[in-house]
Subunit: 487 residues, 2 copies
């Protein structure tokens, strides 16, 4: 064969030099994490950094130094969630330890859609561990996915297809009349899943909540009765463990009873708070979750595994497999060789190519253990209660929701402003907090009022950070307020 | 606050010691890759390694040394796809370079579902680059996903919702009568996507292929006519760039013409061969792809980015966004601060939590450049042609399909065996190849015959590896054959 190079052009020419590059990159990655508590929570990406991103692709291949410098130039411009005063949305904060499985994962470069290898074994060991934590049978099936949004699609597809007897996989959902139920405070991923699954968002009934932001169980029962009377087919009820606005946890035991009575699939969206099963503080509030048919949750939120790592746990492995399994000739199962190792993950979810996401989760649990992970969750709960008390004591602040888990919603008050001016003022305060880089809460609406929403799913946050936050609000509010007084 | 620890228990106690751990782990990861060409392609996971996986979770937290050793113990038991003689299914082989962005990604721990940070900027730069490679307008939208299976769900949801006018997001697909078309050789992910999307696998017509395993265009037209006459609503045609059995590429230009005439969404499943757009050898065979409405493909296959990294490219950003965008209060867009940076990736796909998968792709292109990546693809094509010639010259081997891209299908022949015995013999040969660790092709059926299927999307494979493979087949065949002769 002519002109055929002796070695791959995608391998290092000089391994010693490449090793040095890799170790230098590791030190940069470590430096950033060692200094996670310093500097701004967040800074916008400078224009010159942004324009280099396209330039790098145009100029490629870059010299090794230029490529490494380009990678390093990104490090200051992340989301901010590794900083102790990132207090917005619900992000986990990751760990330095996460670097270790990331390197092993990159070296293995495994596709965990199937075949017989250690990737599948790790995922199975992890699934058994998860099942045990939630009081599920050891026969339960599970799948590591990118996050709760995907986990929800998987779980609700099992519910959909089980309700329709699996022929729907071939024939579609035409004429199915399926309806599901969740609370008005539930996350949008549930409605999105029904949209994706062809049932439409209108097939999801949003049931009113009580004063604690939990689903009103009698309203749920009425809605089911009404739908049955109208000829519709209720098939699933979705409980929330940790609502996105206020962190409330539905009465999961109560939902389990109704689901059983009404023969509905009981799914729990536990995106962040299901992890509370490891915390003495949160676990009692999750009672009833052990009776669910499926649970969707994230390892990258309150357990701080690096992004992305979600999980779907399904009580009945057979229903789960029948929902997704398809094995054409080229993916045929075998008893021996590389094509053994059945069942394959591709039989439990939509992905055929899938990285070895289970590794970082497994390693994280092995490194820290469930007690330490649970204690970090309890610490966060304690901090949020401390914050709520500080808010309650501050004359200029008004709390807008009870504290149940990781979230405290409140607002800054000023006399003489209308409700819509108060909304705009609090929005402005939050943006200024983010822009100054001092702290990064987010906003939401609670009972129609715009709230400064502080969520602490952050193992780096300490009490001092709460004082910095409240101090900064006091400092920024007069300027923000002046803006409204003078317009 | 009492009992509140001064620092997070998930941070290293001793940073210097932790740095050393990290550097040692990096060296193990590098060692494995430096020796990628040595040893067995694949070995089954020993029972003691497997049982340690569960034990590690039971015993957690492990001491640092034990945790690092547990991680290192996995390294020999991957899929095999980093070895030069991994020749099965369609796996990419990754690169040592992939370690660098993996470390930066782990340090940043970014959630790329939204918000204003460098993760979104990298993904945008990458999308513009991809659009340019495929001759799409710079206004095209794109999303990094786990793989082509997910990309297909995204693309076909855009097609579905665009056909139904987007009201279907709310109302579901009830009564839609949509049907789509693909070839009989298309990958199962297309039918799976229609199952997920509620249309059912029967809504996908499998059109016969010609002798080159390309979709028969006149059969396609007849099927469309037949469906319209029956009152159904044709909405999409799915061309394949690189069939999984033989590597064939449909006549994409011809499909584009029919799609335009029939007003169908033209989607290309280019899981592995769409990357051939960077190769002088393959690019001409892809002509017509620039007219697609959407393309799904993987970076982790023929471009060797580490798992997982797929991509969906959509010509019309507006249709794409209207298919997925939902912005509740807690995800509201803003002009300033962390909630700026619009549009957000969550508006273009099902995931809200999503890791910084774009980073490794962007860095890979920056490091290697499109020419070098394309040349590695062309080298693979050259190797497959060499293999086909060797097969054609070997009296004991019979080729079962033409070679178009990365795949050569053939079988071992022996006199006096029935077709089903030949099938079993070739299956046995492949299993023995895998079990001995010499080489790892896979199997499929071509025109009803079981084929030894060699796919070379492996930048490490050299011509000598082909001789090792064929030599091993010659060595193993008599033993495998004896099994049939004596039973």
């Amino acid at each position: 064969m002519t002109d055929f190079p002796e070695k791959s052009a995608l391998e290092p020419d000089d391994w010693a030099a490449f090793r040095q590059r890799a170790h230098e990159t590791l030190d940069r990655a470590l430096d950033r994490l060692e200094q996670a508590g310093t500097g701004s929570v967040w800074s916008p990406v400078p224009k010159d950094v942004e324009s280099q991103l396209e330039q790098a692709l145009v100029a490629a291949p870059l010299e090794a130094d230029a490529c490494d410098a380009a990678l390093a130039s990104l490090l200051p411009y992340g989301v901010g969630n590794t900083h102790p005063r990132f207090l917005g949305w619900v992000h986990g904060s990751g760990t330095p330890f996460g670097l270790l499985p990331a390197m092993i994962e990159a070296s293995l470069n495994a596709n965990c859609g199937g075949r017989d290898h250690v990737g599948l074994k790790v995922e199975r060991a992890l699934t058994a561990w998860v099942a045990e934590q939630f009081g599920f049978p050891q026969t339960a099936s599970g799948l590591v996915v990118t996050g709760t949004s995907m986990a929800t699609v998987v779980a609700l597809k099992v519910a959909r297809d089980a309700a329709l007897g699996f022929a729907s996989r071939e024939t579609g959902v035409d004429g199915s009349k399926l309806v599901a139920y969740t609370s008005a405070e539930a996350h949008a991923c549930n409605a999105r899943a029904l949209d994706i699954l062809g049932l439409g968002t209108s097939a999801l009934r949003k049931i009113a909540v009580n004063g604690a932001f939990r689903m009103d169980l009698s309203a749920l029962k009425s809605a089911i009765d009404r739908d049955r009377a109208a000829g519709l087919v209720p098939f699933a009820v979705i409980g929330t463990a940790g609502t996105v606005n206020t962190g409330a946890i539905d009465d999961l035991g109560g939902l389990a009873v109704i689901a059983e009575q009404e023969k509905l699939w009981f799914h729990v969206d536990g995106a962040f708070a299901a992890s509370g099963i490891l915390s003495d503080e949160v676990a009692p509030k999750l009672r009833g979750i052990e009776r669910a048919h499926s649970i969707a949750f994230d390892f990258h939120k309150w357990l701080h595994v690096n992004y992305d790592a979600g999980f779907v746990l399904v009580r009945d492995e057979d229903l789960h497999r029948r929902t997704f399994s398809t094995r054409p000739e080229y993916l045929k199962a075998a008893e021996r060789g590389l094509a053994a190792g059945n069942p394959w993950p591709v039989e439990f979810g939509p992905e055929l190519s899938r990285g070895f996401r289970a590794l970082k989760v497994w390693a994280h649990i092995a490194e820290f253990g469930p007690q330490r992970l649970g204690a970090a969750i309890s610490e966060n709960c304690q901090l949020v209660r401390t914050l709520a008390a500080l808010v309650d004591d501050a004359p200029s602040l008004e709390r807008l929701a009870p504290v149940e888990t990781s979230i405290c919603c409140f607002r800054y008050r000023a006399d003489g402003l209308t409700e819509s001016e108060l909304d705009a003022l609090n929005e402005e305060i939050v943006v200024r907090l983010q822009e100054t880089g001092v702290a990064a809460p987010s906003t939401t609406k609670v009972n129609g009022k715009l709230a400064i929403r502080v969520n602490i799913t952050n193992h780096r946050t300490r009490e001092a950070d709460l004082h910095v936050l409240l101090g900064a609000i006091d400092d920024l509010a007069p300027e923000a307020l002046a803006q409204f007084r003078h317009t």
